[in-house]
Symmetry: C2
Subunit: 214 residues, 2 copies
DNA sequence: TAGATTGTTAATCGATTAACAATC
DNA sequence: TAGATTGTTAATCGATTAACAATC
């Protein structure tokens, strides 16, 4: 255990380790060394040991890591054991798809309420989640104090709604709108920019003059 | 213009510049200096100039950059001017949401066909895109040679379908399944791992002992 | 015990930032 | 012209990799 400051690069690798350990576990693997794990995941053993060392000592010399234990530790680091409430803003196509497909509970998030402005959606229930009128947002937050809000609203509504949510005490925004949100810096914004993602793919497949490196 | 090899970090910033320049343009701004752009976007002027210098010289000393021109250049670098065909695999909730909401044409992608296995969906049309039976995939590819395939299928189907698409000549996979695909290294995979993204947010908002740095 | 593998320190590599001559 | 700002080289910073003593 050594660092105070954990870099973004390290944090973004943790969920991948977490996912991969889960897969190994479900295949019945009990223990693994950093070198074997690294070979399978396409990273160096050094990087895995270095990453983990930011948070503690989870292995054993001569043995490696117990998969169940390590996975649990990473889960704990990521905070999946701390129940936090989450709300979804915007139950259109994308919001609806998330409500249907995405397992929020697996990340430790409690979700029972979404919000929308459309009268056609208000009052309906999707996968156990009730859609409320956006006007009920303040009252809901006053009682339930959601930690995270998912933004799947039209871009025009995003910034204003983000500010409102921050004022209501939300600590993180999972932003699916194609907008650069500017909010108080104590609030964390995680962007899922589909367009940016697809454009990087566009760049890679486009036939440039001097392409190198696969 | 200097480099041969363009780092991933640079490539991932390009769409953001592209997007921001678009916004400035729509606000009527005609020119901008790297220092002003950097201040607004929260990056250094050096980084912007360094990034752009990988691809050419787009500015003018004493003036800065013409926004329309620079945006067009970045678009060209990203390949948005090269029409490429794209197909969507899986027209469930998420696939459907993308078909409805996402503007594939803006990235230069031609989309007219999606594929699914569900008889309830086959034959239907969503936002001008016709849903075909997965059995028609080979015939379609033989004729239309899609460059990119969007994977919005259940995780169990992902790997096998990816391999099939690669064999059919697809050059890039936009992967929304929560699976680490292993395909031929000449094919580019761009992952959109919702779960990983939410877990990083989970980490940041969780109350750790010694939190620092905002 | 001997072999294996960790956690950590040191070395290397790459990416970001700073500085500045060139020039519009 | 004088002021501003680029493109690029050099300096710095941070992240990744290598090495190895500690030890299970």
């Amino acid at each position: 255990m050594k660092k105070q400051y954990i870099s973004d690069a390290v944090i973004r690798r943790l969920p991948r380790y977490y996912r991969y350990l889960d897969e190994l576990h479900s295949r019945g693997v009990v223990r693994i060394s950093s070198s074997t794990l690294g070979r399978r995941m396409g990273v160096t053993a050094s990087q895995i040991r270095q990453d983990l060392s930011c948070f503690g000592e989870f292995g054993q010399q001569g043995y490696g890591y117990n998969i169940i234990e390590l996975r649990a530790e990473i889960g704990r680091i990521l905070g999946v054991n701390e129940p936090r409430r989450l709300i979804v803003l915007g139950a259109g196509h994308l919001g609806h798809a998330l409500l249907q497909n995405f397992d929020f509970a697996q990340g430790g998030f409690l979700l029972d309420t979404a919000f929308d402005v459309s009268p056609a959606l208000i009052g309906r229930s999707v996968n156990g989640v009730t859609i409320h009128a956006l006007g009920d947002l303040d009252a809901y937050c006053a009682v339930n104090h959601p930690a995270v809000a998912v933004l799947t609203v039209p871009r025009a509504a995003a910034q204003e709604l983000a500010e409102r949510l921050v004022a209501l005490g939300v600590r993180g925004l999972w932003n699916f709108t194609n907008v650069e949100l500017s909010v108080d810096e104590t609030v964390f914004v995680e962007n899922v920019h589909f367009a940016d993602s697809l454009l990087t793919l566009s760049y890679r497949i486009s036939k440039k003059a001097g392409v190198e490196r696969t």
